[in-house]
Amino acid sequence: MEIDVQTAISWLNKANEKMQAEKDYLTKLDQETGDGDHGINMARGFSEVENKIANGNYETCADVFKDTAMTLMSKIGGASGPLYGTAFLRLSTALKGQDPVDEKAFAQGVQAALEGIQQRGKASVGEKTMVDVWQPIAAYLQETSAIEAAQLEKIAKEAMEATKDLIATKGRAAYFKERSKGAIDPGAASSFYLFSALAEVLKEAK
């Protein structure tokens, strides 16, 4: 399977659809141990992304992801802005000069994105952040010989759910220490929606 400009755009539009649909849920999660704006942040950010790329004339996925990065960075006022922004920027950089993008290159791009998130936020696996979803997804993409949409979604979902039992040691939730246990991390949830959107788009593209 290959990812071309149209697939990239479909992915982001589908992601936006999910962020809008799950806006209240993401906000509710963020109210538990944060400032209750993660739904607002993601809905705003991805709706701006959809607008931005609808008006672009793209020749490469790298360009689509670069505009995505810039838009998320500048339109989101919380931690998820620089984090998702850096992720898409690294993805864009990794994919430069390759179009359409094959699975191997895409896997390397997602790995670069993960490393960007970790460089930006200094979080390792197990700190109850979006890293806990990006890491197993990056690992799966690199291991598999052919991406299976259902498997991709399953891994993201399980990784997201596993954040429930973790204690946050990064981001605002870390202020709550042991009390941060018991709820899914908002950024892990939005990352799940992002990869679940990817899974759906890849399924349709087949």
């Binding site: 400032d35 500048s74 006022g77 931690a79 802005g81 981001g171």
Partner: protein, 123 residues
């Protein structure tokens, strides 16, 4: 010689505006730029505001950046990387107290490194 500039980043526009008032009573000659709140003035931070503030605060002697919460720091770091200069230091000192000390130190004509070290020593 130009004085080290200060950039004050907060999730709240009011916090940095009040802090600016506080410092300006004491120090008038040091460049101070504010990046408070999101693009539309809500609680949060804005990369674009931070970028503009850092560029404006740099009068040739570099910029020391103060922030309130961790996500503001991530945004500041991103801007520092984009601007590709080593004339930006992000201070880990507390926003209000650190910026007050830094303004006095910068006003003494100290270098970016020196101001940063002086602030560090206080906290």
């Amino acid at each position: 010689m130009a004085a080290v500039g200060l950039v004050l980043i907060s999730h709240s526009q009011k916090i940095v505006s009040g802090l600016h008032d506080l410092i300006r009573q004491v120090i008038t000659d040091v460049p101070i730029e504010l990046a408070g709140g999101t693009e539309d003035g809500a609680i949060g931070t804005s990369v674009d505001k931070i970028m503009k503030a850092i560029q404006k605060a740099d009068a040739g002697a570099g910029v020391l950046v103060f922030y309130d919460l961790g996500s503001a720091k991530m945004n500041a770091e991103m801007v520092a990387e984009m601007l590709e200069t080593d004339q930006i230091i992000i201070s880990e000192a507390p926003l209000v107290e650190g910026a007050y000390v830094a303004a006095v130190e910068s006003n003494m004509g100290k270098s970016l490194e020196e101001v940063n070290e002086a602030v560090k020593k206080e906290f």
